[in-house]
């Protein structure tokens, strides 16, 4: 499969407004909610916290890539989906007559964030919302690479998840996280290059204390190494598989090319 070039990155988690802030490692308590400027009016009010975070990350990555928001295909990936809405719905079922809010309901599907993004940007291109397990980051990249292979100029990949809420919360995960990459089929400027997505015997990603078992947090080393210019084989999944193999991708910097 052809290589992909990283045209833009995005990140949001409470305290860290973007990739640069995350790399600097300085938490800013003012950063309590993502700006997600694309969402306006009623859409903004109705969007869940995690939808806003996902769209904020998309905005950052596509702005950096100067992508055409009205045309770019996108891949969205989350393990828990619209968990906050799902729990609110469960709660509603136990109150009064157990009737649900129609808005909460249609905003509880896994593809809510991608739906909101397409409406906000008048984008009629298809987008795909993925869900899954430990392989989720790799699967999102695979989907994006296949779209580029098929002829897309650029693809946005948005990875997002929020911690489980009571009564479902396990130990460990503390903060929501949204990450985005804008991938291009074209080398240009100082774009890093991703290739050879595969399972290999690389050390998997260690859990971050902030994110615990959130599968999308496995993409943090990739974003950090792209931003910091540290090439090599980068793991894409959290530790936990017995097989000794982990999904990974090769990262090369622009200088490496002839």
């Amino acid at each position: 499969m052809k290589a992909a070039y990283v045209a833009g990155l995005g990140l949001w988690t409470p305290g860290y407004a973007n990739v640069a802030a995350w790399i600097r490692g300085e938490a800013d308590s003012e950063q309590a909610a993502p700006s997600a400027a694309l969402l306006a009016g009623p859409m903004r009010r109705r969007a869940s916290g995690i939808t806003r975070a996902a769209i904020e990350a998309l905005e950052q990555a596509t702005a950096q890539a100067r992508a055409d928001l009205a045309r770019i295909p996108s891949i969205w990936a989350t393990a828990h989906g619209e968990h906050e809405n799902a729990v609110a719905i469960l709660d509603m079922m136990h109150r009064g007559e157990g009737k649900l809010s129609p808005t909460r309901f249609h905003n509880s599907v896994y593809n809510t964030a991608s739906g909101y993004a397409s409406i906000a940007t008048a984008n009629r291109t298809g987008s795909t919302s993925l869900a899954g397990g430990r392989d989720l980051v790799a699967m999102a990249l695979l989907e994006a690479l296949c779209l580029l292979e098929q002829g897309a100029n650029q693809v946005a990949v948005v990875l997002f998840d929020e911690p489980l809420l009571p009564p479902f919360d396990p130990r460990g995960a503390l903060a929501p996280l949204a990450l985005a990459l804008c991938l291009s089929s074209q080398p240009a400027g100082d774009r890093a290059r991703l290739s050879k997505l595969r399972r290999d015997s690389v050390a998997p990603v260690k859990r971050h204390e902030r994110f615990g078992d959130l599968y999308v947090s496995a993409a943090l080393p990739l974003l950090e190494r792209i931003a910091a210019g540290r090439p090599g084989s980068v793991p894409l999944e959290l530790a936990g598989q017995d097989s000794g193999l982990a999904w990974c991708v090769d990262l090369e910097l622009a200088d490496a090319e002839g």
Binding site: H80, L90, M93, N111, T128, G132
Partner: protein, 393 residues
């Protein structure tokens, strides 16, 4: 594009489990009978309606994966069992790592999550061993399928609401086109749950009577549950997946764009992907939910996309209800059966057909030689997918 890509991929096996039956044979026989398989709403539903429920007892998952046991996974297991030797043959032919899994689910095992939440409310504790990810989220379905099939290639769930298990064909085709795999198990599974029953009721689109897609008298949807699978292979015998088309409405989260532009774009894209002409499409299995808005929009979109072709249009949701995340794959199976056997089912509940629609909605089953057929699925968030299948060569 290579000739192989133009000719698409072979669908060498398929199966379905839903309100019509627990075996593919029963399901197909039910479709041919023309009689809907709807039953009253499940216990705990605070209003009257009808649903397409799987009524037979479903065997539990094997002991080794007992922690993944859920109604959703049991339906998936039951549908997988219908594939017989096809799974082992694919593993042997291509190697386990070259066979992927791409399945759709919208509710996943939400019914289990609802029960767990209620148990917590009543007792202060979740059921022993309940974990959202393993049990209820899409990951639970993927884990079960990985063990039950032994396939070790890329595996992911697509969760685009009602378009989920139509879109899996599109993703699988991309994987095959890119050479990432040589075969893919595609499909979907969704179980009935209170969230969707009460949710669609809150949206005022749930009919308390059997739904009447394309009828002048249509008043909304019924919900259903089920699982369906298909095996796509780089080469082999069978009907073929020739083209896929995807689009977004960019209009509203839960109501379709009344002009049907997204739906039209998806159908046209599927035809373009296959290099096919609208004139060759003899049958459209519509999304056809039975809402006033969808059916009107979809009829307009079919006319716009297919022009003078005037294909037979059928909605099969009158038989099994709207199975949400399983609908795309379920209806693909119905289309594959039609292509193989040269027949189209009656569009259950359509009589009297809405005269404003301007499409040929079939109120009776027909014997007819089919070359190409389209299957549509349109979802919340304005997500649209259209699949073009061809009769075996």
């Amino acid at each position: 594009m290579s000739r192989a890509a133009r000719r698409g991929y072979a669908v060498t096996a398929w199966s379905a489990v839903n309100g019509l039956g627990c075996t593919t044979l029963e399901v197909v026989a039910g479709l041919r009978s023309g009689i809907p398989a709807l039953t009253p709403a499940p216990p705990g539903t605070p209003f009257e309606c009808v649903c397409g429920a799987v009524t037979d007892e479903l065997p539990a998952l094997p002991l080794a994966i007992a922690q993944l046991d859920s109604r959703n996974n049991r339906m998936a297991q039951q549908a997988l069992a219908q594939l017989g030797d096809a799974l082992a043959s694919a593993r042997e032919r291509w190697g386990a790592e070259r066979v992927g899994i791409c399945v759709g689910t919208s509710t996943a095992a939400m019914d289990d999550t609802e029960a767990a939440f209620a148990a917590h409310r009543a007792t202060g504790a979740l059921p022993a061993g309940f974990e959202v990810l393993r049990h209820a989220a899409p990951e639970g379905l993927l884990r079960a399928l990985a063990v039950l099939t032994g396939f070790a290639g890329p595996a992911v769930a697509v969760s685009n609401a009602c378009a989920s298990s139509g879109k899996v064909f599109a993703s699988a085709k991309r994987w095959l086109d890119a050479g990432a795999v040589d075969a893919v198990l595609v499909g979907g599974a969704d179980s009935l749950c209170q969230t969707t029953l009460r949710g669609f009721r809150a949206l005022a689109v749930l009919s308390d009577q059997p739904s009447r897609p394309f009828s002048r008298e249509r008043r909304g949807i019924n919900l259903g549950e089920g699982a369906a699978f298909a095996l796509l292979e780089r080469s082999g015998q069978g009907p073929r997946l020739l083209g896929v088309g995807e689009s977004s409405d960019a209009h509203h989260m839960s109501t379709p764009d009344p002009e049907g532009q997204g739906a039209r774009l998806a159908m046209q894209a599927a035809l373009d992907d296959a290099g096919a002409s609208p004139a060759d499409v003899g049958y459209v299995n519509a999304h056809g939910t039975g809402t006033r808005l969808n059916d009107a929009m979809e009829a307009a979109a079919i006319r716009a996309a297919l022009g003078d072709a005037d294909p037979i249009v059928v909605s099969t949701k009158g038989y099994v209800g709207h199975t949400l995340g399983a609908a795309g794959a379920t209806e693909a199976v119905f289309v594959l059966e039609s292509l193989l056997g040269g027949w189209t089912p009656a569009s259950a509940g359509a009589d009297p057909v809405d005269p404003e629609l301007g499409i040929d909605v079939a109120t009776e089953a027909r014997q007819c030689e089919l070359r190409l057929a389209l299957s549509n699925s349109f979802a919340f968030g304005g997500s649209n997918v259209s699949l073009l299948f061809g009769a075996p060569e």
